[in-house]
Symmetry: C2
Subunit: 332 residues, 2 copies
């Protein structure tokens, strides 16, 4: 079997480590795996398939000989090094927001628009975590009934921000339980036992970058400029797993039981029914997007409501990127 040389940029981050786990779990055929990270992590070693892999520094020419490069080290690193990886001959799968809305860059959720990979020119973007999980749940309903508007409120865990935020939630929670004043540093406000209804900067209309991504990425992935997504994105004091309360206005009426039938067969989706519903706790380390609390509006109202939970580090980031990489390798 053909094997591939692969690099992970941002290997020591929460998503990078999950990429390593997934390559191991899914037996990705590797001739070589190189790990890159920022200065402060170089020299570290990470376990992979029973060995220790050294973490290297990004530098000129470092991608020579690499066929596939997974980036998850933030937009600044991607902007600087993704073009270099491409010119060194690698195909880049980028988990940052740097290139997602570039018209010539496919933005792909494999279960939905893997066909867009045919147009790749050496760079494919991985959508935002919260977009991926919502669209996996929405897609079968969209195909069956059309969707005019989506109203989505998110409950996003701190692991979406990274290791520092994980530690900040731990530290602040401990301090607060001991009656001590917490000291925000990663987030602009206290996150322990609190909520922060801002993820990313605001535009002049008051929408946060995370909310704008929801709308723009959905239109791009579905190739549907008419669909409207009204998001409110909120950081909550949960470590791992993003949750979303989603309400859809469909073009045709779809009952809750029709929706459940469709969701029960949708790839990548696990449906909970009856009194059962998914929790952030349930999704950790799982590949599927968990959907529950499916309900319909009254007579004459084309409304469906869902509760959608997924591991933001897996399907929301590392897994989707690895799935894209698996499809790309088959074309090499």
């Amino acid at each position: 079997m053909r094997e591939f040389s692969l690099a992970i940029v941002g290997a020591t981050g929460l998503v990078g480590k999950e990429m390593l786990n997934l390559l191991e779990e899914r037996d990705f055929p590797l001739s070589r795996l190189r790990l890159f990270a920022s200065e402060r992590s170089t020299g570290l070693a990470l376990p992979f398939r029973g060995k220790e892999l050294k973490v290297e520094r990004l530098e000129k020419g470092c991608f020579r000989g690499i066929e596939l490069a997974l980036f998850s080290a933030g937009a600044q690193v991607s902007l600087k090094y993704a073009p270099q990886a491409q010119s060194d001959g690698a195909i880049v799968v980028d988990n940052s927001a740097a290139f997602r809305m570039e018209p010539q860059v496919p933005l792909v959720i494999p279960e939905i628009n893997s066909g867009d990979l045919a147009d790749q020119r050496g760079l494919v973007a991985n959508p935002n975590c919260s977009t991926i999980q919502m669209l996996l749940a929405l897609y079968p309903l969209y195909l069956a009934a059309g969707v005019e508007r989506v109203f989505v409120s998110t409950y996003q865990s701190v692991s979406g921000t990274g290791q520092d935020a994980w530690e900040e939630l731990t530290r602040q929670s401990r301090d607060l339980l001991r009656g001590r004043k917490p000291h925000p540093s990663v987030y602009p406000h206290q996150i322990g036992f609190n909520l922060i209804p801002q993820i990313g900067d605001f535009d002049r209309k008051g929408y946060s970058m995370e909310e704008i991504k929801f709308a723009q990425e959905t239109q791009k992935i579905l190739h549907d400029p008419r669909i409207r997504v009204y998001a409110t994105t909120v950081r909550v004091p949960v470590f791992r797993g993003h949750s979303e309360a989603v309400s859809l206005q469909t073009r045709k009426r779809l009952t809750a039981s029709q929706a459940k039938e469709l969701l029960s067969q949708a790839p990548g989706v696990k449906l909970s029914e009856g009194e059962d519903y998914p929790l952030p706790l349930d999704c950790v380390g799982r590949d599927e997007v968990l959907v529950g609390r499916v309900r319909e509006g009254g007579e004459g109202e084309n409304i469906l409501q869902l509760w959608v939970v997924a591991d933001n580090l897996r399907k929301g980031a590392a897994l989707n990127a690895v799935q894209i990489t698996e499809l790309l390798k088959d074309e090499l």
Copy 2:
């Protein structure tokens, strides 16, 4: 000045204690104040205006001589003792869900429908916490533009459940930070660093009681059976203060700046603008409903979005009940 004899039923609960605070803060003219609670609290004493008030047991005839009785001890206690208080001659202001949807019982938010108090027959219901805060923010927009549909997702703190839930969140958070397995008892699932998308039992269509209250109470308070409220209600690991992501489909288009102008003048509402937005932390002990993140949909879309935060123990419960009581006393 005329003074009134008043009773609080459920005086040792989180809402009951807040009622005591408010009567003191607002200088309610009292000839007598009696405190009632369940068996396990009788004999306790609570501080009020520099004295200690004994907590008494509910029993036959205990409301004789009481003019106004505030109930906040759960629906079962209200069902049993509110009729008794009425037949003993008191007017009851009930914070439970027991009588809210009875056609002859006014359901009142003073800033919105104090006129409904004219029809009271000895019992007035206090709306649900999450309904109160949403409607205070929605009302000025509703008057100006009409509202067809509301999509609301809640982020509700554990103090809405009571003292036991507050302790459960504390205990579970501590256990989890020490690597110990938490033991749910008040809630059906872990609440520490987790979310529970269920508040109250489900109906056969999968809506929770909390979600149904939102829809029904809104229609009743606004006297508008056409308005549709699609809620998803979620318990979050926050101690105090409920938050809501609210999206409105208005009948006429209202811009965000028009909405902000209206909200800045609305009674009981405090508007945050620009980069500023309210957090659960900010609302604790405050009377106002805090509104921020006001934004509008694109051209041709009659959509407004808001972020609404309030102290669920104050305006969401005790304050609204005390405000109703203040209006009722003026008619005695």
